[in-house]
Symmetry: C2
Subunit: 510 residues, 2 copies
Amino acid sequence: MYDFEFLLLQHTKFIKNRSIFMASKLTPRSTDYSKWYNELVVNADLAQHSDVKGCMIIKPYGYAIWEKMKDQLDRMFKETGHQNAYFPLFIPKSYLSKEADHVEGFAKECAVVTHYRLKTSEDGGVVVDPDAKLEEELIVRPTSETIIWNTYKGWIQSYRDLPILVNQWANVVRWEMRTRLFLRTTEFLWQEGHTAHATKEEAIEETHKMLDVYAEFAEKYMAIPVIKGVKTASERFAGAVDTLCIEAMMQDGKALQAGTSHFLGQNFAKAFDVKFAGKDGGMDYVWATSWGVSTRLMGALIMTHSDDQGLRLPPSLAPIHVAIVPIYKGEEQLEEIREKLDGLIQSLRAAGLVVKFDDDDTKKPGWKFAEYELKGVPVRLAVGQRDLSNNMIEVARRDTGEKVMVSMDEAAGQVQRILDEIQKNLFDDAFAHRAANSRKVESYAEFKEEIEKGGFLYAHWDGTAETEAKIKEDTKATIRCIPIDGEQEEGKCMVTGNPSSQRVIFARAY
Amino acid sequence: MYDFEFLLLQHTKFIKNRSIFMASKLTPRSTDYSKWYNELVVNADLAQHSDVKGCMIIKPYGYAIWEKMKDQLDRMFKETGHQNAYFPLFIPKSYLSKEADHVEGFAKECAVVTHYRLKTSEDGGVVVDPDAKLEEELIVRPTSETIIWNTYKGWIQSYRDLPILVNQWANVVRWEMRTRLFLRTTEFLWQEGHTAHATKEEAIEETHKMLDVYAEFAEKYMAIPVIKGVKTASERFAGAVDTLCIEAMMQDGKALQAGTSHFLGQNFAKAFDVKFAGKDGGMDYVWATSWGVSTRLMGALIMTHSDDQGLRLPPSLAPIHVAIVPIYKGEEQLEEIREKLDGLIQSLRAAGLVVKFDDDDTKKPGWKFAEYELKGVPVRLAVGQRDLSNNMIEVARRDTGEKVMVSMDEAAGQVQRILDEIQKNLFDDAFAHRAANSRKVESYAEFKEEIEKGGFLYAHWDGTAETEAKIKEDTKATIRCIPIDGEQEEGKCMVTGNPSSQRVIFARAY
């Protein structure tokens, strides 16, 4: 259907450009999954390392995806009755040590502000002014339970002030020695919900409700199947009574904790002396939850769906849904294409889709095809002169790589159907991958063999921290969670033979 | 139209509650403007001081207003071709001193991170681990020009990489000794745009374009009239060639700088060695702009419109547009009101308005009236039994305090008209106030007298920093700006008598 001579010319250019691109193509996943990931994050313009150790720069394309995630999560938080607020970046050092477990968990990885002024040095540079030393050092928040509960103390007098359902979008800092873009960085962006309740039951209900919000977000928008579970004591948040989580499986079979929701009991209320007068007039400590997801979700999104050609983005979170590449010679042909496609573009945009008509004449169509593939744009349209006269357009879908010629009049409908299919297909792919890499193991010998193949291993465990630690030391596998919807099944711990009532999920993890 | 007996009962309750409220009513503006402001910010649940010196907590109601401002600004940035990105919180100390003027401006007010770990002390608390000292101290960003231009160096090779039109929403820290909620805090939230261009003309155009965006936002959404102008050298951003600003007048006649847009020339490109190959192959330094507004705008919003009863919010930025207070006895009457109002509420919501039907039975109608007044909800509806049977509803507008009885069937349309009127009326009020408090002065003697009355004084100035400094020392007034749209008028400096071609605006300022 193309003008063949012209197509040949384009194809030659395509090959030429393609080969330029090939030079910087990604390391295949099968060769080195970790290298593939790092290259993809950088080449697809998602993020890069900064000169500040462990801190990343989120580039516009990566940030646009994060923004879509943020907007959708924010909507879901508000629909479940939460409001946003903002608390200080700095936490007085003494606050951190008010909750005993909390300080254990976070003291080792804190950025500490000790001074509040610089002065010019003799060599023209700047030095820290020794006269500007803080009386009490400030910690850059690694999480905000302490500063928030110190504030809630002033907000809560009686049951009428409860519940408090507050969320904060913020940056936090946890000093990390080994970092990876999105997955583990010293500074990262996140949201942290902090709620206060009159009863234990209500707080537990909130903990589960927010876990459900996270699970729904992961599955419906990120197209990532997740398992909801409870963390073991050793994997619990420092200061929590119980930590719930959603766990996802990456393509290399490793687990990634994608979100956590903590039931904090009265731990922080006691540490900060937050009591309320109940309906009956009696005083009691307030019950608490906290829950968060971070830019780490970007890592999960990338590692769940992408392939050796680049990203595969679920349409729900794609900054660009449809990229249109016109194939033309000269301004006149371009104008003709533009005019002909105007109706299609209008109707796609009217359907709420972001459409990019790429008329950048410094780049060849082949280069553009590879670029949109790398960036995971779900649908790419291409149209040349011959197509135009036949009233046809080429529709290529990113997830399967399939291309079909479609009548111009049916293109809008077709594109929307394909986008729905892609959203579903990515989830199904990930679900099938997880199913294929999840299995029950019965003995520790089998476990040690199977864990080398990756994936989720469902095994019986005796519930002790000692056994858990031994397995971790022997195999580097950790208990990802005790699945909430897990089948109750009598069994014996694969290590000690002691009784167990339910299988737990083991995996190596990010 | 009310059931009088019932109304009397309500009125008694109202007075009773009102008097409770009265006990905590605001200091009138005329008594102490500054105290009124502080009380209003706290009582209207906008923000509060935290235990961390100079850092504020933005409470949910205040944050909801900031979110609306943020969303609208973000939309306007995107419509003008900008994308968001995210850069590190920390800046290596040495970066700050690469641009000579920049370091002068910011070194004095920096939070400095010197360590990255705490350890438990013998008394069970925590101390800074002396072994975890950073080789180079990190500065918590007071603004991000340095870290961003250090990054742009890697992004820019040729003219094809330009322009870069990037914005960041972030928290920044400038150590302040005297702070006021929203107006001057050690940590604040803001956006900072950082753009890179191939030509000087394009960068200057961008600087003006973003100033126009700020002015449009201030006038159309915040309902605050602003004057666009150029800062004098002494008021310029540290590192800029030119600083443009929008200046607003508060109710006490003081000026507030509401946004700035800087033409940075090639200063940062030179400091960070960012060159590009032009179309002709020659190398040149890149041209830059930066521009920002912050949570300080919240202060401007509050101080421009509010009165002794509380906030007056422009409907464009109000988290709740319409509050409905049902006046009833017993669940049955409440149900009846609810049913009767269902259609009205639906149609207001369908028009995109946020409607709160306040059926909280722990609070009396009078308390609610005062509360919505304090919080600046633009329209309050009240309905009792008698109204219901007459198919009428009371509509009260916050800006003028007017109340009218409206037929239920016309209420939706009426409310929407009133909201439009309020938006316009707040702007007109502020505009009239500014006009009434702006005047030309001819002599320095007159100036010194007039400045005590507050407001904007248009006077001739000889263009020297010396004269400017003398005026500031004598009167505490600064040159707010050289108005961009100012009339060209030959005159003589009121202090030195030297020639001047245009009046500049003097005022005392926040």
